[in-house]
Amino acid sequence: MEFKGVSRRNFIKTLGITTALAATGTIPPVLYASERRLVTYPEKTELLLLTSSPPQLETPLKYFRELITPNEALFVRWHLSNIPTSVDLDTWRLVIHGNVEKPISLSFDDLKKFEKISYTAVIQCAGNGRSFFEPPLFGGQWLNGAMGNVTWGGVRLKDVLKSAGIKTGSIEVVFKGLDKAALSATPGFLKSLQLDKALEDDIIIAYEMNGQELPMLNGFPVRLVVPGWYATYWVKSLSDIEVTVKSSESFWMKTAYRIPDDPCGCVEPGTAPKKTVPITRMTTRSLLINPEDGSRIKFGQPIELMGVAFSGGYSIKEVLVSVDGGMDWRPARLGIDIGRYSWIQWFYPWQPTKPGTYQVMVRATNSIGESQPLDGLWNPSGYLLNKIERHNLIVT
């Protein structure tokens, strides 16, 4: 790391110093990746500011002490600066067209007539944790706050597509939201799914987050939910669905959001992959949430470490905790399991035997044996981060 006077270890500690910023204000010219300010955007609580326009805001870790992330605390990530700031449900329509029997245009009420389903699923930005990559990378310098665990309510994409009648020869489904680029020369944010993926039962067009309407900044009135896959596919303020006979030429599929075509999705640090594929499923992760990295703990008092663990659609089977920098690993107790797309909480009672600095590490394994690497795997876009984190707790 190359910050002047800020080492890798200090990096996280600097984060403790965040300053609140009024709704209108000037962001000072010196703003390294290690600094974050708290800002309040409409319908949102104080979140950590990454960029102001288009807004990219991350969730402070303390919100992950709860199983469900509150709507006002969920992270915000848009790509193009003309984001929808006003939607009237009277005139809003979701259009399904392309290689279909009959193109349809659904009002919000029409959409709600389809069977409603709901489940809890982790939403995570593909670049969550990018700031922890070494060597460092361009792109949003997310810490670990570009994620959350939300109960989504909506209708099956499959049911909606079938009501328009998918014609033979169809191979992909392309999704577009209400967001637009500042200049027409910039590629619009189009994402696509292969038809067989799009027809999976669990993919929904969500109109509810935790039983309430979506905040505007999280994609009001509806967004796509592709549980188990990174949020790049979860198109916000979804307004247009096209069934196509050709594979999408969208920049955001063909050039961006791609990973090395290798089982690890990785290459030698600093090198370019020979071949890439679109990023899809999330890697397995576990995080220590409480106490936070760098916390001081009173000696002699028993405490309970807690955190969350999740994987791309397969339940977490085991979470191991080490309090001695990875020498000895012991199983954590897992909280209630509310489904394979949700995160699970883990708890680890601990009474340090003597004062000192303890390195806490956590490692999760899912039901198909996927786990976390000890050292980070690297790819040029800073995706898939899931290395075992090291946190220092100071017992005094």
Partner: protein, 112 residues
């Protein structure tokens, strides 16, 4: 009659409180939802090329896209400016692109 008036008052109270419940910058008006984004301004460090950088690099996004990056050498910043032009269609001449890459690498990167 009395009850109707009372009901009306109650409904309007509920309605007003619903609007109020939306925090700063959010308005719910019948079927319509609107937000007003905070007007945050990112200022850049004074230096040769600041004006050019500030003029062109905030056409499509705020300048914190620059200021929140980690420290990179000039060649990397040149590549980013080229990407903005070639991939995203930034209307920046070669001359200005050079001024911008010089400025950013000097003030936000690892020297020239």
């Amino acid at each position: 009659m009395k009850t109707t008036i009372l009901l009306c008052i109650m409904i309007s109270l509920v309605y007003t409180s619903m609007i109020m419940a939306g925090d700063q910058g959010f308005v719910r008006d019948g079927t319509k939802r609107s937000i007003t984004l905070p007007a945050l301004v990112v200022s850049l460090k004074e230096g040769a090329g600041m004006d050019t950088t500030s003029r062109y690099c905030r056409i499509c996004h705020s300048l914190d896209y620059i200021t929140t990056q980690q420290k990179f050498p000039k060649a990397k910043w040149q590549a980013v400016v080229t990407k903005m032009v070639k991939t995203y269609g930034a209307p920046i001449s070669e001359e200005n692109a050079k001024i911008i890459a010089d400025y950013i690498s000097t003030y936000y990167g690892i020297g020239g």
